[in-house]
Point group: C2
Chain length 550, copies 2
């Protein structure tokens, strides 16, 4: 062959290899992805905007009995701010808007004496709870970006002025500090208002009159939490992280189904996650909307499973099988995770998975993941098979029933401690609320075993308790699943009622009754105090009125 001919042949071989590999491995959803994204964008809701005004002034007071040691005491009307000059003496004044809001703050200033002869500077700090405004932010000890904290400094050069704080904030209280002005004039606030946004437009029906007051309060706080988080996607928390995560979506959608019934938001989020999944078909755990929709390249194992459950719940709630069929390839693909780590003995290789994945389950250091992973895998297999049956796709995952049974048998054999009646996890045989919950929800435990395990864990000396409301959801769900209605009601009332009794306007991302300053981020003001994964009491209360509304 001539050298030119050789070159041509070589080039063609390279081209064919490239085409071949790209067809096989380039994008599992190559033909669907753009369509999914368009559908998601077409479902983007308009946000309702409501102008809110301050309810009054509060004083922050230390109080060991108050949540995180600080409380807000009413200290008169907002006219105190409007009727006085603002200077060093009333610097630090705290304005209370009376409810948790998400949106954009505008304030107006005017000259009150003489003429402005120098710029002035203010700092506005927005806080969801009182302690956020009473805790110095610097030196900053936290692990996440310092810029999440909602303190904004504004220089004003001309009066009168109307200033819009450009960043969206989530808060109830705003502290206003005087950072500098000339002594040659006086100025003051003529107005401070807030444009609150949400995509929620409906009011759910009231609960039954027989509902205990604490349950009514829990429902109210849960609805506010969900409303604040329902923006153009289901956000995890409007202060932080302000975006769509699969696990939060799953719980928010459950609560939504029984309250605001904004199914199109659920549909949008399911399509968005699918559209922004990885080329290999595995989902990313969270996505950004701005500047254009894109994913954080971050895979979280248990969230991949929960996508399937969320899709199934959506199809059941709406009857929208078309969407189910459209997104079925994604749900099907996530099950490869189960197949990948299921050992020949039927036990999930949780050690290997933990090295290769972010395996979450809970903000809890030291939580052993073996039992939660085993249980949630079985659960995901089962739930996905149920979805397949709804859609007539069982034949595409024909191996699942057997795989599920194999994992279940292995769990019963390896993780059940007959003596204690608890399901244990890992080499140290850890007993956790999460482990029990997943063994129950997955159907590994019989009803009797489940009841025994759930009763035993709450008095078990070394029990690893939930790190926060997210895990508590699964625990309460397990109690209900197993018919322990009184215990479910007590758990919900104790835990979420605990937040309510500590003054929560919205439910918190993290709540440990024994340690109010707990933070996964090494700085509790960084915690989100309006986190949608904490709002599932709305789901429980409204789905099971026979348990909770009497």
């Amino acid at each position: 062959m001539t050298s030119n001919f050789q070159r041509i042949v070589l080039a063609m071989i390279c081209l064919l290899v490239t085409i071949g590999s790209s067809t096989n491995a380039q994008d599992l959803y190559a033909t669907q992805r753009q369509g999914w994204l368009k559908k998601a964008e077409a479902l983007k809701p308009a946000l309702t905007e409501t102008v809110k005004h301050p309810k009054g002034i509060v004083k922050l007071e230390k109080d060991p009995a108050a949540f995180q040691g600080w409380k807000a005491v009413p200290a008169g009307g907002i006219e105190q701010l409007y009727n006085a000059s603002f200077d060093k003496r009333n610097s630090g004044i705290v304005v209370d808007f009376g409810e948790h809001l998400t949106g954009y703050c505008t304030f107006s200033l005017k000259t009150r004496r003489a003429d402005m002869d120098a710029p002035l500077r203010l700092k506005l700090t927005f806080g969801e709870i009182p302690s956020e405004l009473a805790t110095p932010f610097d030196p900053y000890p936290g692990s996440l970006s310092r810029a999440w904290l909602q303190d904004e400094t504004v220089t004003v050069s001309v009066l009168p002025a109307t200033i819009i704080i450009p960043r969206r904030v989530a808060f109830r209280y705003v502290k206003i500090e005087w950072l500098g002005a000339s002594r040659g004039f006086e100025f003051g606030f003529s107005d401070i208002q807030f444009k609150a946004v949400t995509s929620v437009t409906v009011t759910p029906p009231a609960l039954a009159a027989s509902t205990p007051d604490i349950i009514k309060d829990i429902d109210r706080v849960g609805l506010t939490t969900l409303k604040e988080c329902m923006q153009t996607v289901y956000e995890d928390g409007p202060k932080r992280d302000r975006r769509l995560w699969i696990g939060d979506l799953y719980l928010e959608a459950l609560a939504n189904t029984y309250s605001f019934k904004n199914d199109s938001l659920t549909k949008r989020c399911l399509y968005l996650l699918a559209a922004l999944s990885n080329p290999d078909g595995i989902l990313n755990s969270n996505v950004f909307e701005a500047p254009e929709p894109h994913a954080q390249k971050s895979r979280l194992l248990d969230y991949c499973y929960l996508y399937n459950v969320a899709l199934k719940e959506y199809v059941i709630a709406t009857g929208d099988k078309q969407t189910g069929l459209d997104l079925w390839p994604v749900a099907k693909k996530q099950l490869d995770i189960a197949r990948q780590y299921a050992g020949a003995d039927g036990m999930m290789d949780y050690v290997k998975a933990g090295k290769e994945w972010w395996v979450f389950f809970d903000w809890k250091d030291g939580l052993d993941k073996q039992a939660p992973l085993q249980g949630s895998t079985i659960y995901a297999l089962n739930q996905t098979y149920q979805l397949a049956k709804l859609l007539g796709k069982e034949n595409e995952i024909a191996d699942v029933p057997a795989l599920s049974k194999k994992l279940k048998d292995a769990a019963r054999k390896n993780l059940y401690d007959k003596t204690s009646g608890l399901f244990v996890s890992g080499t140290n045989k850890q007993a956790s609320y999460g482990g029990q919950a997943w063994m129950v929800l997955s159907g590994v435990a019989t009803k009797a075993e489940a009841q025994k395990a759930l009763r035993t864990i709450v008095t078990h000396k070394d029990a690893v308790k939930p790190g926060g409301p997210y895990m508590y959801h699964y625990f309460v769900a397990a109690l209900i699943e197993t018919g322990m209605h009184a215990e479910a009601k007590t758990a919900l009332t104790d835990y979420w009622g605990g937040m309510v009794n500590k003054g929560a306007d919205t439910f918190w991302e993290v709540y440990d009754p024994a340690d109010e300053l707990r933070s996964p981020y090494n700085f509790y003001p960084m915690n989100s105090y309006c986190h949608a994964w904490s709002c599932t009491p709305v789901y429980f209360i409204r789905k099971y009125p026979e348990i909770f509304q009497r």
Copy 2:
């Protein structure tokens, strides 16, 4: 009379009294003021906008030999900023734009690795000279508003982003600090640029080839200073106070006449000050343009005098007698100040004036005002009479020649110390540069006396030196007035050359060679380092080429 009749009569009397008093005292310029304001606004110049790019990076280094102990050392090109991620490690980087600029900064950021998953925060601090960026601003010890200092904090929530710093800044160097970001991604600068503004559009002719280099440098620095201060009015300083003061106007207009020749800006400012004067006809010392033109209600005695001189200089420079006639009533009225405080003995009651007025002359604690006030009063009377003659208005101030002579005779009698050959001021017989200058400019001193006084003061042990460039102008003017050309050249070269040799890009508001940290505001970063009242070397150099350009 019936009681009704009595009421009517009483009401009519009140009405008449009100009309009478309002006609007499309400507004001396009632019929002209609106027209003056309209003329001023019609003369508002368009600003030229020029996009500027960084020249490179500098490192700030301590150096006792440098001005205020800090110098900026070139440290490579701007690509260091654009080609690297920005994080804690390069926080504090200083970008050099290579020249003093006034205007608006825009910077662009982009993601460099992974995805933005949290807001980031930066602080940009703009400085005119290196020490501004090396001196901590807090705890803030200064007397003026902390918000004058040009540090702006920006929170960015979405990338890529182009951020415009909203406030106008004046600077050469900008320090960029990293205040917080997530560890999950990297970002960097893709661009930083500056929209520089001025109302100057022309380049003045070059100086004679025979001009000494130091004089060329002084001229260049002076022209830059003036260009930076010529905005929609003659500003005193573009960092601070950013507005029109009479004294600065007077000196800037002198320099402008011999350089940029933007006479319409001078005309605008003269009309604006007139329009915003007090109802009793006395001028306010400074005015604001925003939100609508209005005065600071602040009277400064010597500045009222200087308005007249500025008006006279304008009419001579332009031949625009119409404006002279239009504003003549204002000039005429300022002379009432002289009449009010002139004692029967011909001495100005400087003590009473000092209690009832801000009597300025110089940023110099302890400067005795008697001689400056006496001299500047005579000077103002003389200059205003010259203006009157140009306009055919001598008859309206027919008392002025005699008054001026009376004050002059009194000054010679009371303030001249034959033994020392100095003019003295106040009960302690203080000898100051300012006192000598005003005695010379007013013509109180004969030529021989003037030369002797000006020679003697510079070696006089207890001489009160000028506090800054503003007073130095009058000193140099007095040297020129009295024919001491060599001394004028030396004074200009020494003083303003001192700033040039210390690296000044623009001339400073305050400069004391013996105390580089002097500040009237208790914090030298607050000083303006581009102050137009320091730019009069441009006037001297270009008006007197025979002295300065050889």
